[in-house]
Amino acid sequence: MQNKKTIFICCGTGCQANGSMKIYQAMLKAISGLNLDVEVIPDIKKTGCHGLCQKGPLVHIAPKEITYIHVKTADVPEIIERSIIKDEVIDRLLYFDKQQNAKVQSKSDWTFEKKQYRIALRHCGGIANDSIDDYIDKGGYQGLEKVLKTMTPEEVIDVIKKSGLRGRGGGGFPTGLKWTFAAKAQGDVKYVICNGDEGDPGAFMDRSIMEGDPHTVLEGMAICGYAIGANQGFLYIRDEYGLAVENMRKAIADAHSKGLLGKNICDSGFAFDAEVVRGGGAFVCGEETSLIHSIEGSTGEPTPKPPFPANQGLWGKPTIINNVETWANVPVIINKGADWFAAIGSEKSKGTKVFALVGKINNTGLVEVPMGIKLREIIYDIGGGVGKNRKFKAVQTGGPSGGCIPESKLDLPIDYDSLIAEGSMMGSGGMIVIDDRTCMVEFARYYLKFLSEESCGKCVPCREGIKSMLKILTDICEGRGQAGDIELLEEIGAMVKANSLCGLGKTAPNPVLSNIANFRDEFEAHINDKRCPAGVCKNLTKLYIDSKVCIGCGLCVKSCPVGAISGEKKQPHVLDEEKCIKCSSCRERCAVDAVRVR
């Protein structure tokens, strides 16, 4: 069966949005319509995210290792004819690697992949996302079997501790230490929870893991259950993540049927079960105590810590909550050992981190890199640099809890501690690249607006502090900024950080404070000169066409939704400021950068 080929079709959300399910179905249909030899009929697998969402839908063919990008259903017959029945490579569907200035056959040779190191994403894209057999073939559930047959619970916790694994959900609390608390806590009933309520509005790491490799999460949770003495797990997953919920539920059922969940797993006498709870849609439920209350059937309002969930969590019982990516690391650490894992990464942050690399970047996608890698390497090597050759301004990490890191800090080795030192944080892994057309005041306002809707509203510093800060920022963006506003934002921000009840409030001012620290001049331009240098804040923006630069191509005319631009072909065009709604469509469209901000 050496000739047997496998087609891996990316059916992660990004590629599905681009129509990859249609390609999957077209593939199945086309193959069944051909009278092929059994040996030639390929395995066609729906997989999780391959990484480079920008170029989706992605189709990968093994064993020849051919990766096709931007595949359309119309390409399916040709792919089957030339790359499945024959052994040819279709040149036009290959990825053109700008950095190598060449077409590259296999994704493993893309520059995008070169500096990546996949642990949590190790199976994403490489196994069928709904097949327990694929997972087992890749060594899945060996970690669970190993702990049940050869290790004591204490030994398991010891390995996790020694590995240096820290929580991938944001704060970076040492995972092994957390488990120790729950293991030592009194009680017969304990729980394990997977936080899959990825609410950061620019992140899809956890979603991709749950969609693409659900069993690794279950295996990690079961290992923890054995280590701390818990027999029940809950996976709290955002309800909007339909595919993640579906794949996870199937994974649970399949694991049951193989005896890898349920009673007496691997004849060890250990029992562990898991259940999916669909989240109700509240960013605050990413906070441990809120998430617990939500599972209990209440509103997701946080309660003070202590007591910590490891001692008193779900229904008052000792509970371990880790996020999806943390769980995905656990089976690998058990299999390969603490030393192997601890050798990857930086001194205090071990292993890798998955980021959703998005924004004004050429290679949008999901990347996994060793801790300690420089931001510059992620943005320029993996990400291929800023899109449309614009000027890099900053990169945002940590979502609404994080901050922006300016160009001067691009050589920062990223780990938990270095990001906090810069006023940002690791967060769950959103990494948003920003160019000179993003207004840092408006960007801070964006996060605060999000938080004003997502704060549970329970405690006054968070609810009223955010509201007041948002009011001031909105004033600044709309031209009503006053002298002293920046200082007032800083004062209120410091109070909100210190006095808020839960992690949401304690980090909510970060986007504002870090933008003030790094881009104070932009705030001042808004307040003092009533001008938005990036041309985003509509009240403070005036666009014009530079007649010396305009080539009269007319692209701007077509892009303008209100007909504010006019001009003769090949003559400089004119923009009517009265009609202009400052949507910047023309500026985005202009190939010669003739649309300028006054």
Binding site: K55, P201, V277, G297, S298, G300, P561, S585
Partner: protein, 162 residues
């Protein structure tokens, strides 16, 4: 059967798929939301009684979580992604365009019941930013002008159907 009684009967059936325990409140409400596209008052009353949970707590849940709507949604639900990647690529301009064309704010439904407008935080299609989803169909790399054309198709399609 009156509409109200019908809702009570149906929602009880939905609730009874779960044991009468408080922890299933969220799941039951989600199922009811999926069934009706909103949470009718009678359904919330039925669930409160079935789970022995105070009615005001059910209403508190219904107004806390974003998944729930207290009024029926439109035939086409336009979700403009305002995740960070879409935001910096101009999702606000898309939102302004929809508001201008349909005359509704996020969270509202047009008087003819055709469109509801919502914003969502990251739908995971950042490679296509800015993105809008109309019912289950994704529209990527949008500009105000291209979104206008798409909306006109939906509006036009309806006129033809009538």
């Amino acid at each position: 059967m009156s509409e109200s009684l019908k809702i009570r009967t149906e929602s009880l059936e939905i609730a009874q798929k779960y044991q009468p325990k408080r922890r299933y409140l969220l799941a039951i409400l989600q199922d009811i939301q999926k069934h009706y596209n909103y949470l009718p008052a009678e359904a919330m009353e039925t669930v409160a009684r079935y789970l022995s949970v105070p009615l005001v707590k059910v209403y508190g849940m219904a107004t806390f979580y974003k998944a729930f709507s207290l009024t029926p949604k439109g035939k086409y639900i336009i979700k403009v992604c305002d995740g960070t990647a879409c935001h910096i690529k101009g999702s606000v301009n898309l939102l302004d365009e929809v508001k201008m064309i349909l005359g509704i704010e996020p969270g509202q439904t047009t008087d003819d019941g055709l469109f509801s407008l919502e914003t969502v935080a990251c739908i995971g299609a950042c490679g296509l930013a800015p993105v809008a989803v109309i019912n289950d169909e994704y529209h990527g790399n949008l500009t105000p002008a291209s979104l206008r054309q798409i909306l006109e198709q939906y509006q036009g399609g309806m006129k033809d159907a009538k």
